[in-house]
């Protein structure tokens, strides 16, 4: 019962670059958990065209900020969220993205370390009800990629996007995995 493919097809036909992020990207990297939403990362410059393509497909806006768009649709389309970033950020994440297959279509996801950066960023949003799933994803991704926490690139990502306590939290969770 594929419901994601129509979204990918509509965006591809409209020439919209996107990366699958969120729970599906985590699953595609090998850390299996459930998720209800399809989350897409997209550059600012393509938002107007993306919104037009998605409205044409049957979506309507439920909530939006300058960095986030939550869309709802009929039952034959997935719950969809757009995470909007500046074009430079998108290009920097896109360059190391991995190709995966979702609903029979080739799509791109951020590589595991960039996905961890996105998850760490999410843990610092105090307006959210809980960040537990994000921490589980972060630890799950680290287990999957088997990267050393002492690696300079890893340390930089953790401190820059997770803050001063993130490394301690990741170590604590990895030790109890």
């Amino acid at each position: 019962m594929p419901i994601f493919a129509s979204v990918f097809l509509a965006l591809n036909q409209a020439g919209i670059p996107f990366l699958v992020v969120g729970g599906h990207a985590v699953v595609l990297h090998g850390h299996l958990r459930n998720t209800f939403d399809l989350d897409l990362l997209m550059p600012d410059s393509k938002l107007v065209a993306a919104r037009a393509a998605l409205v044409k497909l049957g979506y309507r806006t439920y909530f939006e900020t300058d960095a986030f768009l939550q869309l709802q649709a009929s039952e034959n389309l997935p719950p969809l969220d757009l995470m909007i970033v500046d074009d430079q950020t998108f290009a920097r994440i896109e360059v190391t993205a991995d190709w995966k297959v979702l609903d029979g279509r080739e799509i791109r996801v951020p590589d595991a370390l960039r996905l961890i950066a996105l998850k760490l960023h999410a843990t610092r949003d105090r307006a959210r009800r809980t960040t537990e799933t994000d921490w589980q994803d972060i630890v799950g991704l680290f287990k999957t990629i088997n990267r050393n926490l002492e690696d300079p690139e890893v340390r930089t990502i953790i401190s820059q996007y997770g803050g001063p306590q993130a490394l301690t939290e990741i170590r604590r969770r990895l030790s109890g995995w």
Binding site: F68, Q70, R114
Partner: protein, 77 residues
């Protein structure tokens, strides 16, 4: 998993016994997460999630609950 004898012994009707080609469901003693990592892959998981989505979205506050889980702050890299 793979301990089908233990499954039958425990009276678990979900175990498939002598039909190894079928999807083996977890016995009560096994953690579901461990089972998913061992016995199913991302493709099966995503198919299952698509089915769950259709059920979950029938809740009247589905979109509000989704929103509560999201970060709306801009990410820069």
């Amino acid at each position: 998993m793979g301990d089908l004898k233990r499954s039958r012994k425990s009276g678990d009707d979900l175990a498939v016994g002598d039909q190894p080609e079928l999807l083996r469901l977890p016995t009560p003693a096994e953690a579901l997460h461990q089972w998913t990592e061992q016995d199913i892959g991302p493709r099966v998981m995503i198919d299952a999630m698509e089915t769950m989505i259709q059920i979950a979205r029938s809740q009247p506050d589905f979109e509000a609950r989704r929103l509560a889980r999201k970060t709306t702050k801009r990410f820069e890299y």
